[in-house]
Symmetry: C2
Subunit: 362 residues, 2 copies
Amino acid sequence: MKTALVIGTGLIGTSAALALARRGVTVHLADHDTEQARTAAALGAGTSEPPEGPVDLCVVAVPPTYVAPTLADAMRRGAASGYLDVASVKGGPRRELEAMGLDLASYIGTHPMSGRERSGPLAASADLFEGRPWVLTPTGDTDTHVLNLALELVAQCRAVPVVMDADAHDRAVALVSHMPHLVSSMVAARLENAEETAVRLCGQGIRDVTRIAASDPRMWIDILSANPGPVADLLAEVAADLDSAVTSLRELQSADESKRRDGATGVENMLRRGNAGQARVPGKHGTAPTVYEVVAVLIDDQPGQLAHIFADAERAGVNVEDVRIEHATGRQAGLVQLMVEPRAAAQLAVALRERGWSLRQQ
Amino acid sequence: MKTALVIGTGLIGTSAALALARRGVTVHLADHDTEQARTAAALGAGTSEPPEGPVDLCVVAVPPTYVAPTLADAMRRGAASGYLDVASVKGGPRRELEAMGLDLASYIGTHPMSGRERSGPLAASADLFEGRPWVLTPTGDTDTHVLNLALELVAQCRAVPVVMDADAHDRAVALVSHMPHLVSSMVAARLENAEETAVRLCGQGIRDVTRIAASDPRMWIDILSANPGPVADLLAEVAADLDSAVTSLRELQSADESKRRDGATGVENMLRRGNAGQARVPGKHGTAPTVYEVVAVLIDDQPGQLAHIFADAERAGVNVEDVRIEHATGRQAGLVQLMVEPRAAAQLAVALRERGWSLRQQ
């Protein structure tokens, strides 16, 4: 790939352009907001001048609703040898393009799984996609040449290509992202009018469950509007589980012991299925979840405490895999949980104690 | 308080005993498993010999089902001047004690909010309760003397006392802990039989939502069995929200534009209520959530990188409030997100860049 045209210079488009430009591809940037395209160009993502002839790859990185018309326009102009989009939903845009009667041999739908709270070219980075899955949805009609252009883009962005059917992709993101997002909102919604004393009792559990409920509703309405069917199907499954959990809990209130036993069995089954599903969530290294040992260190909240802990861990030759800082309610003291390989935990605990740290047994 | 009797030397009982013993209280330890009481004594939590006369405070730290009979037995023996339990549910045990015809002036139900994955005396620590809320549920009948004994225990454990009505406590823990736990299990359960390709797309969002679904089902059946009513009521509310979300999503699939608009409004309301509820979750310092700026640093996964980053932050005079390490899928490289006070973010970014770190714009 020598030349590319990126249409839509928001977070994703500009990040992809930066990655391509860094590797010597001549990138042309276009946006309905020409100011935004010039900003992306100023960041080193390419030129905001239009290409003189057809480019190798046209990357369409516009909001979901504009994907099909933007692609159709570019294809009719013969802007490129291959075309792809990066929208978070894949079935709908493909069907729209088919309905427009376009020849889709030169098109491939893709989706880089790179979340980010901020948007716009200023949030962009050539490293945005590094190590993340980038879904490609070729069909039997897709030109091999176009698939290879897409694979080249993914490689230059240092992402990990994953090939899927478009509708399977949409069901998968409904499962791992859209459904959990709405459920998180529903748990959080229960706190809206809760008493202050109750809210004070919140701990790390509910904090984690509701974290993503803080996201921007406008972006999520777009995402959910583009994938309503698969999300509704999954929510209906969760609703059925909820109904049966309510039944089990009511049985636990019964005076009849055999009913209470049924209730306990129902709740237990739910919890065990949760265990089994949770165990499949990939760990941060993208493989099976690694079980780390936790070494917990008490700190006061002075600058430098963390630096000293990490320096002491380094001296002990221990690699800290993950870390969680838990501040105590209403005070500055806190707890640093260092996650390390099980075989390194004892060594780290001894080293930290020797250096005067106060550990909390886990 | 000079003398105490701790009945039940598991995690909570032994931790409280350690805190009391550390401050010079003579602590007697009892457990139906005498070996376990001796282990607690060997850890410095007190003596496994029975007291010669009544002690000042009797702490009952046995599983929920045994709380009422254990308390009744101790009260009938006149074991102490004041009695408290530490079970995670408060309404049921009180009603059981009342039904037994006991005089409850000398009793106060309490609940220290100190979660821990492990149990037993070996997991105990005098610091377990430090800075955590410890709920006290006095009634009009509770002796002031007994309330003060409980407050003294809470102070010696360096926890933060929170006074609540017993049933309000049970509804509060249903809200902030029990309901979110079951909902997390239900989201995780959807992954149990999902295709491997879909599971590969999991990101930080679903990882956070499902983290607590990994807990031990046996412990959670006990907890939920003791508080089924309030949990069922909240799950029924979530189920109603789920049903209306399914309706809204089906409307989004409609050919009729006004229906699609209704659907979008329904989804938006749900997301906004989630925003409002999430904003009430206390931050790690136990106050309103602080909005930190994120400074993201690319690392390779060598020991020492974190130490160097924290040392450089210290040199820049910046206090890191929280940290999250995100490893890239399938490789050792990763991203360290440093959360700092907004006014310190620019200073930190400049300092880290000067020292050669590669930052990713957020």
